[in-house]
Amino acid sequence: MTWSDAAVLALRSLARRGARSLLACLGVALGTTLLVALLSISGGADSKIVSQLSHGGPAAAIHVDAALPDPSGFESDTLKSGAPRDLGAAQLQEIQDSPHVASVVPVLAMPALVVPCPDYQEFAAHPTPPCRQHTDEYFGALIGADLARFRDLPITVLAGRLPRAGSMSEVAVTQGYMERVNLDLNRFQDVIGSTIEFSTPQVAPGGGQGRFRGRWYLATVVGVVAQTVDDGEFLVPIQQTQAARQWALGGVDGRVFKRPTSPYSGLVVVADTLADVHAVRREIFDIGYANSAPEHLVASIQKYLHIVDIVLGGIGTVALSIAVLGVCNTLLAAIRERWREIGVLKALGAADEDVARWFLVEAGLLGVVGGLVGTAAGAAVTTVVALVVDRYLKEQGLLGVDLGGLPVPIIVGAPIATALLAVVAGLAPALRAARLPVREALGG
């Protein structure tokens, strides 16, 4: 008897015992649902937690500072920099060409005088905006980055959007800025759309140690972000800070503001995988730049998450095992019911392996159908749970989560694993049926 013949016979057997087959199949499906949902949710949660550690950026991101490395910094998660060292395109390329480097995004931070102008639009025609009359300006930092590659940057958009790449009139602010201008940290709508005037400094030649000329420009707040690209409350396209640098280079070194000789103040380097972070950090260290990554923190959190995964996976596996034992039980019961049929089959010349094949295919079919249904149900449960959690978090004024879709390995692996488990569970009944003495099976 071929496998396809056995499949036809198994399908007929399952159909004849429709209710029992359905129950066994539902048991497998429920077990698979639980396993798939737990693995998907825990996997999604893991990646989100790790992602949160890097403020929405890639977990394998490394911050490189335009400074020589401090020898003690390599084994630490925190940045320990030595003397400043220029960081330009050549060094960027050298790092980019290092093994296991997925991407390198340049960052240029520039100091700026910040003048919040919430009511600027009302006085747009006025030669001197009223906000300049106020005394609440302060020195902050503009963080310029290539925002076209924001996915490689440790940035989370809390509200609104990022400035368009290359835009010279848009800015995203952090909640630190909202706090400074006394806004409710959860009322993002109060800051989005407002205006800020910036003045980047140039120390004028012969202008004295404490005097500088400003390059003024207005920017509209288009979003609120959390970011760890660099220290600062304002995220702008790198073109903006590059213009500010050019302006500053036209001056001289001052007591506070030095001429920014380095084209970049830092880099965000993304390693191929988390496991490669240490090696890439070593490479950058050897090239001669201070760098940092939360690799120890991520590693220790991953260990705890892994334990949670094992526990959740274990619970799901136990549920699936119980369900698969249901398949075993169903088939054992079927042997007693098919005692006579097995005998007839053997009298017609079926070998032991033919009978075993019949039962194994039946177990496999229960596993495949149960696995497919369970995987689909698991995906649905995961989606619903993600929606409920996301809505709850947003209702609580917290950042929502997107647990993402069902991982492909789970979609493919779950039905296969379930079918294999069902076949394993069907081995004992299949062997028992196969070894049944033919005369005994015929009721002699």
Binding site: L9, L345, G349, A351, G444
Partner: protein, 222 residues
């Protein structure tokens, strides 16, 4: 042909062992027709099972169609059953989840007949037993006589040398029983196969070339 010499068969071991067949000898020529009678528990079905390779030969020699059954085990016995013998049971032994035609096809499936030929051969066999119109019906929809005719068609599927029928009319009314026996005899004559029938019915036994009775483990010719 069937050749049995000194066949002894016991159930159980030790002092509680029950000797069901004791040094039985039997000869049925190729194409012959033998009827075995005896009271219940006399060992008729055991003898038939041994002849059909369903029970191992414990002692003595049994040769069916030139094959020494005492030398066959496991897969070889399965092959023997597939190729050499056809069984007809008192309770028909049809799989209720399959149609009449599929039941016949099952024997062809086990014999590895290509799928494309199975249907045609099964329909030809059902036509031979007069059940063309019932080919797509499942056993619960068929009468006793029809069920037994399906079972006969299935038994003949692989053109066996020996046809073994265990009380083939035991569950049938008189009319159906007579028609089933006529069918078996006609098919035997047409195909030239050896027929061994176990029966309680002396009238049916009287139709055989050889009438044998099993009593207290001994097989005697009547």
């Amino acid at each position: 042909m069937i050749l049995v010499r000194g066949l002894t068969h016991r159930y159980g071991t030790g002092p509680d062992a029950l000797t069901i067949l004791c040094a039985v000898d039997m000869d049925v020529p190729s194409g012959g027709y033998a009827a075995v009678m005896g009271v219940s528990g006399a060992g008729k079905s055991t003898l038939l099972s041994i002849l059909g390779g369903l029970e191992p030969v414990q002692q003595g020699t049994v040769s069916v169609g030139g094959e020494d059954l005492s030398r066959l085990h496991g897969r070889e016995l399965a092959r023997f059953r597939r190729a050499r013998v056809g069984f007809v049971f008192q309770d028909f032994g049809l799989l209720t989840m399959l149609t009449a035609r599929e039941n016949v096809e099952l024997a062809l499936t086990l014999a590895a007949v290509p799928r494309s030929l199975r249907r045609e051969q099964a329909e030809r066999l059902l036509a031979e037993v007069g059940l063309t119109a019932r080919a797509s019906h499942r056993p619960p929809k068929l009468s006793g006589g029809e069920l037994q005719r399906v079972a006969i068609a299935r038994a003949l599927a692989n053109e066996p040398a020996v046809l073994l029928a265990d009380e083939p009319t035991g569950n049938l009314d008189e009319d159906s029983a007579s028609r089933v026996m006529e069918l078996l005899e006609r098919l035997r004559a047409d195909r030239g196969c050896t027929l061994v029938v176990v029966t309680h019915n002396p009238e049916l036994a009287a139709r055989a070339d050889q009438r044998l009775r099993l009593s207290r483990g001994q097989l005697v010719r009547l």
